[in-house]
């Protein structure tokens, strides 16, 4: 119901408006040439002034501002790039220094090791020589002792035999005959006792 009234209202209003427009309408004011010359004149004046001021004063400034900003940003980027490059080269230098130092340290270590080894070797040699000398001396002594042993044993054998004979028989026996017997025995089975 309300809807119907509403649309009827709108519909009748069209007639109403048409009457109002019809009463006042004198066509389009745009086509009335009364102020054409005035509009052309003022358009030329304002637009001309606008154009001259914009093109001579304002737009060059904006353009310069934009250019300046662009160049500044470019410069900053370039500076940053340069700094990056320099830092990179410094990093490389640093790496090289580290590498060189490492090599040097290795060399020093190697040298020290070599030296120590040489030292040890020379000392070892000296010690070895000493030990060899001692061993030789000892061997010589042993040899000497060994060489002297049969004679001593023979002597002891002769003495003990003569003593045993004296005790058993109660008679002195000629030492020379005894030694002959002992020597004979030694020759027979000396190897068994003394080795070769």
């Amino acid at each position: 119901m309300i809807k119907k009234i509403f649309f009827q209202f709108i519909f009748f209003n069209f007639f109403f408006l048409k009457e109002v427009f019809g009463a006042e309408s004198g066509g389009m004011p745009q086509l009335n040439p009364e102020f054409w010359i005035s509009q052309i004149f003022w358009l030329t004046l304002t637009f001309g002034t606008l154009y001259i001021i914009l093109s001579k004063l304002i737009l060059p400034k904006i353009s310069a501002n934009l250019e300046l900003r662009k160049s500044q940003i470019q410069e900053n980027i370039e500076a940053a790039e340069k700094q990056r490059e320099s830092s990179e080269s410094k990093l490389k230098e640093y790496d090289q220094i580290i590498l060189k130092t490492k090599l040097k340290a290795k060399n020093i270590f190697k040298d020290a090791r070599d030296k120590a080894l040489k030292d040890i070797n020379s000392k070892k040699e000296v010690l070895d020589n000493q030990i060899d000398d001692e061993i030789k001396k000892a061997e010589k002594e042993i040899e000497l002792l060994r060489k002297g042993a049969p004679e001593k044993i023979n002597k002891i054998a002769i003495e003990t035999s003569s003593e045993i004979v004296k005790k058993l028989i109660g008679a002195d026996i000629n030492n020379s005959s005894l030694s002959a017997i002992v020597e004979d025995l030694t020759k027979k089975s000396g190897d068994k006792y003394y080795g070769s």
């Binding site: 509403f6 209202f9 709108i10 209003n13 109403f16 408006l17 109002v20 427009f21 006042e24 309408s25 066509g27 389009m28 004011p29 745009q30 086509l31 009335n32 009364e34 102020f35 054409w36 010359i37 005035s38 509009q39 052309i40 004149f41 003022w42 358009l43 030329t44 304002t46 637009f47 002034t49 606008l50 154009y51 001021i53 914009l54 093109s55 004063l57 304002i58 737009l59 400034k61 904006i62 353009s63 310069a64 501002n65 934009l66 300046l68 900003r69 500044q72």
Partner: protein, 244 residues
Amino acid sequence: MAANPMTQFEVYRIGPEIKIGNFDISFTNASLFMVISSLAILIIFNLGSKKNSILPNKIQLLGELSYSFVSKMINDTAGSKAKPYFSFIFSLFMFVLFCNMFGMIPYTFTVTSHIIVTFVLAAFIFIGVTIIGFIKHGFGYLKLFVPSGVPIVLLPLIIIIEIISYLSRPISLSVRLFANMMAGHTMMKVFGGFVVSLGIIGGWLPLSFSVALTGLEILVAFLQAYVFAILTCIYLNDALNLHH
């Protein structure tokens, strides 16, 4: 407030009548809004270009964005050869845009809703472009009317069509802007009239239409200024880089 939607386009004298010879060049409401628009443009862009900081403030950003917007538009449509005409197209775009936008404020006058204003601008562009074309290419500029790759039988017809389309450029350019502005403002006025005549019960519908139309008209105001400027660029492109 008059009920006639056309009264808003009426031009009337402000102040005394000024005459030079037989010509009446009195200051009118149209002149007033031309002056206001120009002054607004000058003030905004002067403020926008005064200080140059690396991080621009709002008004500087506005100026620089408009600068690069128009610059990009010209570069895209007319190429780098159109650089000397940048300030003209920039002023044209800004002038039309500001006139359109000022017209969107209630009780103001829309300068661009008058055929004579848009026609003078369009005729100036047309004559200027034609002169530039003839200076750059001599009589070779007439090749614009002879498209390549057209069969010879069709050529006379095509040439006539091309000439007519070329000559109708100022008319189409001016009427497009003028008609858009006039139609939009008339429509808004009509809907506004409905709000009043339908009263408190039925007025809400046309009121909501009116609100929506305001948004649309602001869009149209920008779009028509853009179209006006970009068509100027296209005509300039024809004159500068002749390849049809």
